[in-house]
């Protein structure tokens, strides 16, 4: 199951050229770009690992693309996303986030049902890959 998180996630995977164009847009807005990766793509897992420091004061997407490629090389079968941070007063948050790499095989999520207090049901979401194996060996 292809996971859909962040912007453009219902589109086919972006090519490097398209990624560069999106990053260029973000840089032109004055946003700071960072690259993050994870092997736990649970929808509630907000904080992925940072790959290097966030990049401030860039003018050109080439530097970001270099960082993305380095991350892909280090974690070839992880989820990798690009985030853009807007530091404008009272915004001060991530304003754009999109996935730039995903594992070849995405087993997806299942719904876990738990019976509590008689007939009451409690639901939770669990990733197959996450439950099956420990961190670092999942994808």
């Amino acid at each position: 199951m292809r996971i859909t998180q962040g912007t453009f996630s219902f589109l086919p995977d972006l090519t490097d050229k398209q990624i560069a164009a999106q990053v260029k847009y973000a840089l032109d807005q004055g946003w700071a770009i960072s690259v993050e990766y994870t092997d736990d793509p649970h929808p509630r897992n907000t904080y992925w690992e940072m790959f290097g420091n966030p990049m401030f004061d860039l003018r050109d997407p080439a530097g970001v693309l270099q960082e993305i490629n380095e991350c892909r090389k280090t974690f070839p079968n992880y989820y990798v996303r690009v985030m853009a941070f807007d530091s404008t007063h009272q915004v001060e948050s991530i304003v754009l986030s999109f996935i730039v790499q995903r594992p070849k095989d995405e087993p997806g999520f299942r719904q876990v049902r738990e019976e509590i207090d008689g007939r009451k049901m409690r639901y939770t979401t669990q990733g197959y890959a996450v439950v099956a194996k420990p961190e670092g060996a999942r994808y």
Binding site: G52, N53, L58, R59, D60, P61, A62, Q66
Partner: protein, 323 residues
């Protein structure tokens, strides 16, 4: 100077290259569209002297234009390596030319942006193990798309300390200069003799830099023109006497210590402005209710220049040794 090689190239292009498709490329049109003429004119107007530098810039501009024309008719036009080294004494205009160069390369479409990131050793080399690579890479990322200007580049290499981290920085630089030629242009700058030693001990660096541009010292006549230009830009003016004083000042100043070409002239003018202000202020307080006229406010008087210590032998106990 410029139109003649251009005309020649255009003629030979149209005459000698009937390509298979019969297309021709109008170099003159490309030249006009790129807006490069404006930058080159500005270069001529605002930079006095520096003939070898200007001619090299024209050559590079011509090469990039011709490459564009070649690409337009389907001939191969590999991106040329445009890393440069600027060598010359202090105050000969290396930084100024680097800024212009960024503009020219951008207008010719060689770089994607016209920004210059100026760095020195401190910005590239870290203080402990593992600190240098991220620092250098961060600077390189900032410069991507434009020009990375490394001032006093020879400080990167410290031969007396074999564990110096500068070498690590140089290696990263070399790698990026080779592999990401379309992404950024590196300009190294520094004094001639020290740059030569730097290149000797880093042959990899020397071979990756295609353009070694030497900035000659200015002649006294050129320095006087520079002074006049600076004065004009600051909305001041010389009269005949103060111009003569300035001419004498320059001749004396060149012989004295710490002479830094155009920078010395700028400093001299800044001090002359201080003296002028003090003089006008003193005159105005002696005769109250007399407002200084515009003429008085703009004139740098002979006295303002002749009051300089340069006319009294310069720095105390340090009257010799030109740089």
């Amino acid at each position: 100077m410029w139109p003649s090689p251009k005309a020649r190239v255009t003629k030979s292009m149209t005459a000698a290259t009937p390509t298979p498709t019969g297309e021709t490329s109008d170099l003159a049109l490309l030249y006009r569209e790129s807006g490069i003429a404006e930058v080159l004119d500005q270069l001529d107007r605002e930079l006095i002297g520096l003939l070898p530098v200007k001619s090299r810039i024209r050559e590079i501009a011509a090469l990039l234009l011709v490459d564009k024309a070649r690409a337009a008719v389907g001939l191969s036009a590999g991106a040329p390596s445009l890393h440069m080294s600027f060598t010359g004494n202090p105050g000969t205009g290396k930084t100024t030319v680097a800024l212009r160069m960024a503009d020219i390369l951008h207008r010719l479409g060689y770089t994607r942006s016209n920004h210059v990131v100026a760095v020195t050793r401190d910005d590239l080399v870290g203080q402990y193990i593992g600190h240098t690579a991220p620092k250098t890479k961060e600077m390189l990322k900032k410069a991507m798309g434009g020009v990375l200007f490394i001032d006093e580049a020879y400080y990167l290499h410290r031969p007396e300390n074999e564990r110096d981290y500068g070498q690590e920085s140089i290696e990263i630089l070399l790698q990026v200069m080779e592999n990401q030629r379309d992404d950024l242009v590196v300009i190294l700058a520094g004094y001639k003799d020290r740059m030569d030693t730097f290149f000797q001990s880093n042959p990899g660096m020397a071979s990756r830099i295609a353009h070694h541009v030497e900035f000659p010292d200015y002649t006294p006549e050129e320095l006087l023109q520079i002074a006049e230009l600076m004065v004009r830009q600051m909305d001041y003016r010389f009269d005949a006497e103060s111009l003569q004083a300035m001419r004498e000042y320059i001749v004396l100043r060149i012989e004295q210590a710490h002479f830094a070409n155009a920078r010395s002239i700028r400093n001299a003018l800044d001090r002359a402005r201080l003296r002028q202000a003090a003089r006008i202020f003193a005159e105005a307080t002696q005769t109250p209710f007399v407002v200084p006229t515009k003429d008085q406010l703009t004139l740098l008087d002979e006295r303002d220049i002749r009051a300089s210590r340069v006319f009294r032998g310069g720095f105390i106990g340090n009257t010799s040794s030109q740089h």
